[in-house]
Symmetry: C2
Subunit: 158 residues, 2 copies
DNA sequence: CCGTATCCTGATAGATACTG
DNA sequence: CAGTATCTATCAGGATACGG
Protein backbone atom coordinates (compact mmCIF):
# COMPACT_ATOMS: atom_id res chain seq x y z
CA UNK A 1 0.00 0.00 0.00
CA UNK A 2 1.24 3.43 -0.81
CA UNK A 3 0.20 6.84 0.30
CA UNK A 4 0.76 10.16 -1.35
CA UNK A 5 1.25 13.58 0.12
CA UNK A 6 1.68 17.07 -1.24
CA UNK A 7 5.26 18.17 -1.67
CA UNK A 8 4.75 21.72 -0.54
CA UNK A 9 3.05 23.03 2.53
CA UNK A 10 1.74 19.99 4.28
CA UNK A 11 4.44 17.90 5.71
CA UNK A 12 6.26 14.99 4.40
CA UNK A 13 7.70 11.67 5.47
CA UNK A 14 7.42 11.16 9.18
CA UNK A 15 7.89 8.30 11.59
CA UNK A 16 10.96 6.33 12.37
CA UNK A 17 11.30 4.14 9.29
CA UNK A 18 11.51 7.09 6.96
CA UNK A 19 14.24 8.86 8.87
CA UNK A 20 16.22 5.64 9.17
CA UNK A 21 15.84 4.63 5.56
CA UNK A 22 16.08 8.06 3.99
CA UNK A 23 18.36 7.53 1.04
CA UNK A 24 19.61 11.11 1.07
CA UNK A 25 20.95 10.61 4.57
CA UNK A 26 22.40 7.24 3.65
CA UNK A 27 24.04 8.61 0.54
CA UNK A 28 25.58 11.32 2.71
CA UNK A 29 26.98 8.60 4.96
CA UNK A 30 28.84 7.17 1.98
CA UNK A 31 29.89 10.60 0.73
CA UNK A 32 30.21 12.06 4.16
CA UNK A 33 32.97 14.50 3.50
CA UNK A 34 34.04 17.23 1.22
CA UNK A 35 37.16 15.25 0.34
CA UNK A 36 35.09 12.32 -0.89
CA UNK A 37 33.25 14.56 -3.34
CA UNK A 38 36.50 16.07 -4.55
CA UNK A 39 38.10 12.67 -5.08
CA UNK A 40 35.06 11.65 -7.09
CA UNK A 41 35.24 14.84 -9.11
CA UNK A 42 38.81 13.98 -10.02
CA UNK A 43 37.82 10.44 -10.94
CA UNK A 44 35.25 11.85 -13.37
CA UNK A 45 37.89 14.13 -14.80
CA UNK A 46 39.97 11.05 -15.55
CA UNK A 47 42.46 11.01 -12.69
CA UNK A 48 43.57 7.49 -11.79
CA UNK A 49 46.79 7.74 -9.77
CA UNK A 50 47.26 8.32 -6.10
CA UNK A 51 49.52 11.33 -6.29
CA UNK A 52 47.33 13.01 -8.86
CA UNK A 53 44.26 12.58 -6.68
CA UNK A 54 46.02 14.15 -3.72
CA UNK A 55 47.44 17.06 -5.65
CA UNK A 56 44.48 17.86 -7.87
CA UNK A 57 41.90 17.56 -5.13
CA UNK A 58 44.13 19.64 -2.89
CA UNK A 59 44.34 16.97 -0.19
CA UNK A 60 47.17 15.75 1.95
CA UNK A 61 48.38 12.25 1.20
CA UNK A 62 46.92 10.74 4.38
CA UNK A 63 43.50 12.18 3.64
CA UNK A 64 43.66 11.08 0.02
CA UNK A 65 44.70 7.59 1.08
CA UNK A 66 41.91 7.31 3.64
CA UNK A 67 39.25 8.57 1.24
CA UNK A 68 40.41 6.38 -1.65
CA UNK A 69 40.32 3.32 0.56
CA UNK A 70 36.85 4.16 1.80
CA UNK A 71 35.54 4.78 -1.70
CA UNK A 72 36.99 1.45 -2.81
CA UNK A 73 35.41 -0.24 0.20
CA UNK A 74 32.07 1.33 -0.66
CA UNK A 75 32.36 0.09 -4.22
CA UNK A 76 32.50 3.49 -5.91
CA UNK A 77 36.07 3.05 -7.07
CA UNK A 78 38.07 -0.02 -7.90
CA UNK A 79 41.80 -0.57 -7.68
CA UNK A 80 43.10 -1.96 -10.89
CA UNK A 81 46.65 -3.28 -11.04
CA UNK A 82 48.65 -2.36 -14.10
CA UNK A 83 52.27 -2.58 -15.07
CA UNK A 84 54.20 -0.34 -17.37
CA UNK A 85 57.18 -1.89 -19.15
CA UNK A 86 60.12 -2.10 -16.82
CA UNK A 87 58.13 -0.78 -13.88
CA UNK A 88 56.71 -2.54 -10.88
CA UNK A 89 52.99 -3.13 -10.58
CA UNK A 90 50.97 -0.06 -9.69
CA UNK A 91 47.30 0.57 -9.09
CA UNK A 92 44.87 2.75 -10.92
CA UNK A 93 41.65 3.91 -9.27
CA UNK A 94 38.70 3.85 -11.60
CA UNK A 95 35.01 4.54 -11.20
CA UNK A 96 32.76 1.53 -10.95
CA UNK A 97 29.25 1.67 -12.39
CA UNK A 98 28.07 2.54 -8.91
CA UNK A 99 30.50 5.42 -8.68
CA UNK A 100 29.91 6.63 -12.20
CA UNK A 101 26.21 6.81 -11.44
CA UNK A 102 26.93 9.74 -9.14
CA UNK A 103 27.77 11.94 -12.09
CA UNK A 104 24.32 13.59 -12.18
CA UNK A 105 24.70 14.56 -8.52
CA UNK A 106 28.10 16.13 -9.18
CA UNK A 107 26.75 17.93 -12.21
CA UNK A 108 23.84 19.23 -10.14
CA UNK A 109 26.18 20.66 -7.51
CA UNK A 110 28.38 22.20 -10.18
CA UNK A 111 25.40 23.68 -11.99
CA UNK A 112 24.14 25.26 -8.78
CA UNK A 113 27.54 26.71 -7.96
CA UNK A 114 27.94 28.02 -11.49
CA UNK A 115 24.62 29.80 -11.17
CA UNK A 116 24.82 31.13 -7.62
CA UNK A 117 28.44 31.33 -6.57
CA UNK A 118 30.35 32.53 -9.60
CA UNK A 119 29.90 35.78 -11.46
CA UNK A 120 30.96 34.28 -14.74
CA UNK A 121 28.98 31.08 -14.71
CA UNK A 122 31.80 28.90 -13.43
CA UNK A 123 35.32 28.22 -14.66
CA UNK A 124 34.50 25.00 -16.48
CA UNK A 125 31.45 24.01 -18.44
CA UNK A 126 30.22 20.64 -19.60
CA UNK A 127 29.45 20.67 -23.28
CA UNK A 128 27.37 18.31 -25.36
CA UNK A 129 29.85 17.14 -27.97
CA UNK A 130 27.27 16.72 -30.69
CA UNK A 131 25.76 20.18 -30.49
CA UNK A 132 28.05 22.27 -28.30
CA UNK A 133 25.36 23.30 -25.82
CA UNK A 134 25.95 23.29 -22.08
CA UNK A 135 24.96 20.18 -20.16
CA UNK A 136 23.08 20.25 -16.88
CA UNK A 137 20.55 18.20 -15.00
CA UNK A 138 16.81 18.42 -15.31
CA UNK A 139 13.95 17.01 -13.28
CA UNK A 140 12.19 14.48 -15.39
CA UNK A 141 9.69 11.70 -14.81
CA UNK A 142 10.11 8.20 -16.14
CA UNK A 143 7.60 8.86 -18.88
CA UNK A 144 9.88 11.60 -20.14
CA UNK A 145 7.97 14.68 -19.04
CA UNK A 146 9.81 17.68 -17.72
CA UNK A 147 8.71 18.23 -14.15
CA UNK A 148 8.42 21.43 -12.19
CA UNK A 149 9.03 21.15 -8.44
CA UNK A 150 5.43 22.11 -7.75
CA UNK A 151 4.24 19.20 -9.89
CA UNK A 152 5.78 16.61 -7.60
CA UNK A 153 4.19 14.73 -4.77
CA UNK A 154 5.65 12.18 -2.40
CA UNK A 155 4.65 8.56 -2.43
CA UNK A 156 5.53 6.21 0.40
CA UNK A 157 7.07 2.97 -0.71
CA UNK A 158 5.26 0.43 1.45
CA UNK B 1 38.94 32.17 -25.61
CA UNK B 2 37.80 28.73 -24.62
CA UNK B 3 39.43 25.39 -24.83
CA UNK B 4 37.84 21.96 -24.88
CA UNK B 5 39.09 18.67 -23.57
CA UNK B 6 37.84 15.12 -23.54
CA UNK B 7 35.91 14.13 -20.46
CA UNK B 8 37.34 10.64 -20.19
CA UNK B 9 40.91 9.48 -20.30
CA UNK B 10 42.93 12.57 -20.88
CA UNK B 11 42.92 14.82 -17.95
CA UNK B 12 40.81 17.72 -17.08
CA UNK B 13 40.96 21.16 -15.52
CA UNK B 14 44.40 21.90 -14.19
CA UNK B 15 46.24 24.92 -12.93
CA UNK B 16 45.51 27.08 -9.98
CA UNK B 17 42.51 29.02 -11.14
CA UNK B 18 40.45 25.94 -11.79
CA UNK B 19 41.00 24.45 -8.36
CA UNK B 20 40.25 27.74 -6.69
CA UNK B 21 37.16 28.51 -8.70
CA UNK B 22 35.78 24.97 -8.96
CA UNK B 23 32.10 25.40 -8.27
CA UNK B 24 31.72 21.90 -6.91
CA UNK B 25 34.23 22.66 -4.18
CA UNK B 26 32.64 26.03 -3.50
CA UNK B 27 29.18 24.53 -3.33
CA UNK B 28 30.52 22.04 -0.81
CA UNK B 29 31.81 24.93 1.26
CA UNK B 30 28.27 26.25 1.50
CA UNK B 31 26.80 22.79 2.09
CA UNK B 32 29.78 21.54 3.99
CA UNK B 33 28.03 19.19 6.31
CA UNK B 34 25.60 16.38 6.44
CA UNK B 35 23.36 18.41 8.71
CA UNK B 36 23.08 21.18 6.11
CA UNK B 37 21.79 18.71 3.53
CA UNK B 38 19.32 17.25 6.00
CA UNK B 39 18.01 20.68 6.97
CA UNK B 40 17.51 21.44 3.30
CA UNK B 41 15.76 18.14 2.76
CA UNK B 42 13.32 19.08 5.49
CA UNK B 43 12.80 22.52 3.99
CA UNK B 44 11.82 20.87 0.71
CA UNK B 45 9.45 18.62 2.58
CA UNK B 46 7.74 21.72 3.92
CA UNK B 47 9.18 22.02 7.41
CA UNK B 48 9.38 25.63 8.58
CA UNK B 49 9.77 25.63 12.39
CA UNK B 50 12.87 25.28 14.46
CA UNK B 51 11.80 22.34 16.57
CA UNK B 52 10.53 20.44 13.57
CA UNK B 53 13.83 20.88 11.76
CA UNK B 54 15.76 19.56 14.74
CA UNK B 55 13.51 16.59 15.34
CA UNK B 56 12.85 15.57 11.75
CA UNK B 57 16.44 15.92 10.62
CA UNK B 58 17.55 14.07 13.73
CA UNK B 59 19.76 16.88 14.95
CA UNK B 60 20.38 18.35 18.36
CA UNK B 61 19.06 21.84 18.90
CA UNK B 62 22.48 23.48 18.91
CA UNK B 63 23.39 21.87 15.61
CA UNK B 64 20.04 22.75 14.09
CA UNK B 65 20.38 26.34 15.28
CA UNK B 66 23.89 26.67 13.90
CA UNK B 67 22.98 25.21 10.53
CA UNK B 68 19.80 27.25 10.17
CA UNK B 69 21.70 30.43 10.88
CA UNK B 70 24.40 29.55 8.37
CA UNK B 71 21.87 28.66 5.70
CA UNK B 72 20.10 31.96 6.30
CA UNK B 73 23.45 33.79 6.11
CA UNK B 74 24.22 32.05 2.84
CA UNK B 75 20.86 33.06 1.46
CA UNK B 76 19.43 29.57 1.04
CA UNK B 77 16.77 30.07 3.69
CA UNK B 78 15.02 33.18 4.92
CA UNK B 79 13.54 33.87 8.32
CA UNK B 80 10.04 35.10 7.98
CA UNK B 81 8.28 36.54 11.00
CA UNK B 82 4.68 35.52 11.50
CA UNK B 83 2.20 35.81 14.32
CA UNK B 84 -0.62 33.51 15.15
CA UNK B 85 -3.59 35.11 16.91
CA UNK B 86 -2.84 35.53 20.57
CA UNK B 87 0.74 34.30 20.18
CA UNK B 88 3.99 36.17 20.16
CA UNK B 89 5.90 36.65 16.93
CA UNK B 90 7.66 33.57 15.66
CA UNK B 91 9.88 32.85 12.69
CA UNK B 92 9.40 30.46 9.83
CA UNK B 93 12.35 29.29 7.76
CA UNK B 94 11.58 29.10 4.08
CA UNK B 95 13.60 28.29 1.01
CA UNK B 96 14.71 31.22 -1.07
CA UNK B 97 15.01 30.85 -4.84
CA UNK B 98 18.68 30.16 -4.30
CA UNK B 99 17.90 27.39 -1.84
CA UNK B 100 15.07 25.94 -3.87
CA UNK B 101 17.40 25.66 -6.83
CA UNK B 102 19.26 22.92 -4.97
CA UNK B 103 16.32 20.56 -5.39
CA UNK B 104 17.85 18.77 -8.40
CA UNK B 105 20.98 18.05 -6.38
CA UNK B 106 18.95 16.58 -3.54
CA UNK B 107 16.90 14.54 -5.98
CA UNK B 108 20.10 13.27 -7.58
CA UNK B 109 21.47 12.10 -4.22
CA UNK B 110 18.16 10.48 -3.36
CA UNK B 111 17.94 8.77 -6.72
CA UNK B 112 21.43 7.35 -6.33
CA UNK B 113 20.70 6.09 -2.83
CA UNK B 114 17.42 4.57 -3.96
CA UNK B 115 19.26 2.68 -6.67
CA UNK B 116 22.40 1.59 -4.84
CA UNK B 117 21.74 1.60 -1.11
CA UNK B 118 18.21 0.28 -0.68
CA UNK B 119 16.88 -3.11 -1.69
CA UNK B 120 13.41 -1.76 -2.28
CA UNK B 121 14.20 1.35 -4.26
CA UNK B 122 13.99 3.71 -1.30
CA UNK B 123 11.28 4.45 1.25
CA UNK B 124 9.88 7.51 -0.47
CA UNK B 125 9.45 8.27 -4.13
CA UNK B 126 8.85 11.50 -5.96
CA UNK B 127 5.91 11.22 -8.28
CA UNK B 128 4.87 13.36 -11.21
CA UNK B 129 1.40 14.46 -10.21
CA UNK B 130 0.09 14.60 -13.75
CA UNK B 131 1.08 11.11 -14.79
CA UNK B 132 2.10 9.26 -11.65
CA UNK B 133 5.56 8.28 -12.89
CA UNK B 134 8.65 8.54 -10.71
CA UNK B 135 10.69 11.73 -10.95
CA UNK B 136 14.46 11.79 -11.15
CA UNK B 137 17.19 13.84 -12.73
CA UNK B 138 18.59 13.46 -16.21
CA UNK B 139 21.63 14.88 -17.95
CA UNK B 140 20.43 17.22 -20.61
CA UNK B 141 21.94 19.93 -22.76
CA UNK B 142 20.42 23.35 -23.20
CA UNK B 143 19.12 22.41 -26.61
CA UNK B 144 17.08 19.70 -24.96
CA UNK B 145 19.03 16.63 -25.98
CA UNK B 146 19.52 13.78 -23.57
CA UNK B 147 23.23 13.42 -22.93
CA UNK B 148 25.24 10.32 -22.11
CA UNK B 149 28.31 10.87 -19.91
CA UNK B 150 30.57 9.83 -22.78
CA UNK B 151 29.06 12.54 -24.98
CA UNK B 152 30.32 15.34 -22.77
CA UNK B 153 33.49 17.33 -23.02
CA UNK B 154 34.85 20.07 -20.84
CA UNK B 155 35.15 23.63 -21.99
CA UNK B 156 37.19 26.20 -20.07
CA UNK B 157 35.37 29.40 -19.37
CA UNK B 158 38.04 32.05 -20.06
C1' DC C 1 7.68 26.72 21.29
C1' DC C 2 12.25 28.75 20.07
C1' DG C 3 16.16 28.89 20.81
C1' DT C 4 21.27 29.80 23.58
C1' DA C 5 25.27 28.33 26.54
C1' DT C 6 28.55 24.79 27.92
C1' DC C 7 30.92 20.83 27.81
C1' DC C 8 32.61 16.81 25.69
C1' DT C 9 33.77 13.23 22.16
C1' DG C 10 35.13 11.74 17.72
C1' DA C 11 36.13 12.61 13.00
C1' DT C 12 38.24 15.55 9.34
C1' DA C 13 42.22 16.95 7.66
C1' DG C 14 46.87 19.51 7.43
C1' DA C 15 52.07 19.12 8.23
C1' DT C 16 55.89 16.43 8.37
C1' DA C 17 58.72 12.60 8.01
C1' DC C 18 59.67 8.08 6.40
C1' DT C 19 59.51 3.52 3.28
C1' DG C 20 59.45 0.49 -0.91
C1' DC D 1 55.40 7.11 -7.73
C1' DA D 2 52.59 5.22 -4.01
C1' DG D 3 51.78 5.21 -0.10
C1' DT D 4 52.21 4.79 5.80
C1' DA D 5 53.09 6.77 10.51
C1' DT D 6 52.61 10.42 13.85
C1' DC D 7 51.19 14.40 15.67
C1' DT D 8 48.13 18.13 16.08
C1' DA D 9 44.43 21.61 15.27
C1' DT D 10 39.92 22.39 14.00
C1' DC D 11 35.22 21.29 13.51
C1' DA D 12 30.85 18.54 13.50
C1' DG D 13 27.71 17.26 16.48
C1' DG D 14 25.55 14.96 20.81
C1' DA D 15 24.04 15.74 25.81
C1' DT D 16 22.50 18.62 29.09
C1' DA D 17 20.89 22.61 31.14
C1' DC D 18 18.92 27.03 30.92
C1' DG D 19 16.04 31.38 29.36
C1' DG D 20 12.39 34.06 26.66
Amino acid sequence: MSHTIEMTGVLAPRSAWTADRCTIARTLSVLSTRSAFLILREAFYGTTRFDDFAERAGLSEPVAAARLRELVDEGLLEREPYREPGQRTRHAYRLTDKGADLLPALVALMQWGDRWLDDDGGPVKLEHRDCGANVGVALRCERGHDVEPAEMQLRYNR
